[in-house]
Symmetry: C2
Subunit: 452 residues, 2 copies
């Protein structure tokens, strides 16, 4: 197993209840509030970042960034300690909030969630974010500055850009510590496996080679086949031992699959034996996706290396939305680096970079003539598309599948496992629709995934 | 592309017909005769070794080995130049043959095939092979001396052991040069692609990562799936570019597939588009299989590295017959070496070793529940069997398939592609039986694959 990113696993969680409770009385306190989009709908909840930092998913990051650290990240995607890190992680607030709480540098600031204590932020700096549009552009890149991979100027339709664009003007920087470890609701509870626990689990299973799969989808057959092929590939001299499925749980958009179905849909693959349970585990990370494609892939690498994975699958349009980035931008990064972002070699080849190794995946499609899922190739720069067979395989269209599901039709077995479909139906019954609706979004922000 | 084994491609072929003809008048001549088994049937024809040496398949080997070279090979599997090489390559003759031809050291000896000139052997040494049983044991190993991988003492039922056991008592060593390049008969002609030509072909196709597949079988679906997975695996960061199928053409045993069907069966896979022709090529090498499992895999590595492959598939029971070696002996070799044979690390990790990289493959089987070929895992030493799914996949049984074919039944599509089956039927019509018969063996030895 690789060591955690930065060498040490962060675990800023006070589990001793008496010790924890002493923090609950802190008077300087702020309620954690969601970031709101232009229409007032929640597009991010910083509690997820607090959880991911404190439980070590983002190791070696220990808290929210100072101005200098954000500048360093935007310049060369490195923390001040030199370790690779892709995104500014910012606790943004208004002037009014600062005044009302009376926060000042040096304070222990109690952050509350739905009025209950969650974490303490040791205030290191209070600073002004400046122009948030500039911050958002600098975070994701521009077609002029980042020609290798940025195809279209970012705008409000990009959910990640919109998060930075919508931040409040001020930022509070400093280390965060959970002082009231939340319990997860069902079904999240059984997928919550922070890095320390995940590493123990991998060790207990005797897995030496573990390939991580990023997901925010209920798995269709194409996903399953990609995971199986990646598992076969990742060991080099022998197949790998297991797939670590890690779902990103956070802000959703209408039309997305609901989080519960994503987690249980992947779980269904091992429950029904398509993966032996000794070769497959489903986990989750709290994070409001930034859809940063190659940049997001660095964060994914960090999270899963910290969780104990040795390899990471990167497919076409990895963590992508729209046409902002080249479809193979992530492979580009992991094959040669992204000099325009200050990353001159693949993230696992640079000094103070990651240890996790990429498994770059092309696209799979079903070929009725071959009677199997076959490989369509990949194409970026000098690596040319090379389809495997000489027939005309059919891509699984996500929108076609969506159409089938909305009509209430059972998808063909070649497209989705029946056991996975049953999971969709289960949550459809709960929420009245197979996909995320405005109502689900409202409920999700009200209820979150945890109980305090 | 890796450089040829030993750094330089051997090409001892005189193509200028006038220059070649000057050798045809040499008076010191010997007719190339097959090695005969105990029942008088041909089990090897040294013309195949002459061809493979002179055309560079066995580079850097330039001719038949001297006593010192054979001793070096048997001690540490290295030529006198230090380069890894697994088998003694011996031109064996009787005392009477030496006397009748009047051969002596320093002579140019003309070797004739079916009475026509084929090659000149520059006589460097004439030596006595001694006890051929000891030679055969030393070549393959014994359960006492080679505990890592030898399970059962070799005997006359092992075709490779029998070749060495059946050699004539004397040996003539020296460099060989083809002085009458043979033309191949149909269909062999279109699969004959010696290393120099094969390297050019690979370059012309723009292939950078090429995985070699060893075969002496008409491909069933399991073989196809293994090749496809190997192709997917071998590139590491991206799939490989092509599969180089290389059939070993030589002495057969009753019940084997006929050589013509093996070659055209593999070709059918790209003709019918299961492999895009830009990702697949079928070739052949003349060699009477020694069934040396891990040792044979070294020769396979040498041949295919010389042909320009960058990677080589090694499966369960690679080049195996019977239970003499551990089923995963070849993986053992390519993962840790075989110290008892003088090979202290994998063949591609030792000094003056190979450059070609192994792609170790487990076993595939069809899972009706998954609806696909799935992976059964592999198991050797501390690498434990790890099946991919949790159902009960069914292995393709070679003898079951054989039974179906003999009954004249068309195998299910899940077992064999219809286009491959048609090739079997085609050659069945020619030879009156779907497999090698005594009659085919006799014909094969009479006709060989070439015309002089």
């Amino acid at each position: 197993m690789h060591e955690p990113h930065g060498g040490r696993l962060v675990y800023n969680v006070i589990e001793d209840i008496d010790k924890a409770k002493s923090f609950w009385e802190i008077k300087t306190r702020l309620e954690i509030k969601p970031t709101l989009g232009p229409d007032g709908s929640p597009i991010r909840n910083p509690y997820r970042e607090i959880m991911s930092i404190a439980y070590g998913f983002f190791s070696p990051l220990e808290g929210f960034m100072t101005r200098n650290e954000v500048e360093s990240v935007l310049k060369e995607r490195r923390l001040l300690s030199g370790w690779l890190f892709p995104f500014p992680i910012i606790y943004d607030v208004t002037e009014d909030e600062i005044k009302a709480a009376g926060v000042k540098v040096g304070d222990d600031l109690l952050l509350t969630l739905k009025g209950r204590p969650l974490a303490v932020l040791k205030v290191e700096e209070i600073w002004n974010l400046g122009d948030r549009k500039e911050l958002a552009d600098a975070t994701f890149g521009t077609p002029e500055k980042n020609r290798e991979v940025v195809r279209v100027r970012f705008d409000e339709k990009h959910p990640g850009w919109l998060i930075y664009r919508s931040m409040k003007p001020m930022a509070i920087a400093g280390k965060v510590t959970i002082v009231n470890p939340p319990r997860f609701k069902e079904p999240y509870d059984r997928f919550w496996m922070p890095p320390a626990a995940s590493r123990k689990y991998i060790e207990s299973k005797g897995w030496k080679i573990v390939v991580a799969h990023q997901t925010r989808n209920v798995p269709h057959m194409g996903h399953e086949m990609l995971m199986k092929r990646a598992l076969f590939v990742c060991g080099g001299n022998r197949p790998g031992d297991a797939v670590l499925v890690n779902a990103i749980i956070g802000a959703k958009r209408p039309g997305d699959y609901v989080d519960e179905a994503i987690l249980e849909g992947h779980e269904a693959l091992n429950k029904a034996g398509y993966f032996h349970p000794d070769r497959h585990v489903v986990t989750m990370t709290l994070w409001d996706m930034r859809y940063g494609n190659p940049l997001e892939s660095i964060l994914h690498g960090i999270i899963r290396q910290n969780m104990g994975a040795t390899h990471h699958m990167f497919g076409r349009d990895h963590a992508a939305v729209g046409e902002y980035y080249d479809p193979y931008a992530t492979q580009y990064l992991w094959t040669r680096g992204l000099p325009s972002y200050g990353i001159n070699a693949p993230p696992n080849k640079v000094d103070k970079g990651l240890k996790i190794e990429p498994v770059n995946m092309g696209e799979l499609a079903y070929c009725p003539k071959c009677g199997e899922y076959t490989y369509l190739g990949m194409s970026y720069d000098d690596v040319k598309e090379r389809p495997l067979c000489n027939h005309t395989p059919e891509r699984i269209s996500g929108s076609f599948l969506r159409g089938i599901l909305i009509e209430g039709l059972r998808p063909p077995k070649l497209v989705m496992r029946p056991e996975v479909y049953e999971v969709i139906v289960k949550w459809w019954r709960v929420y009245g629709y197979p996909f995320v609706t405005e109502k689900y979004l409202k409920l999700k922000e009200e209820e979150l995934e945890v109980r305090l």
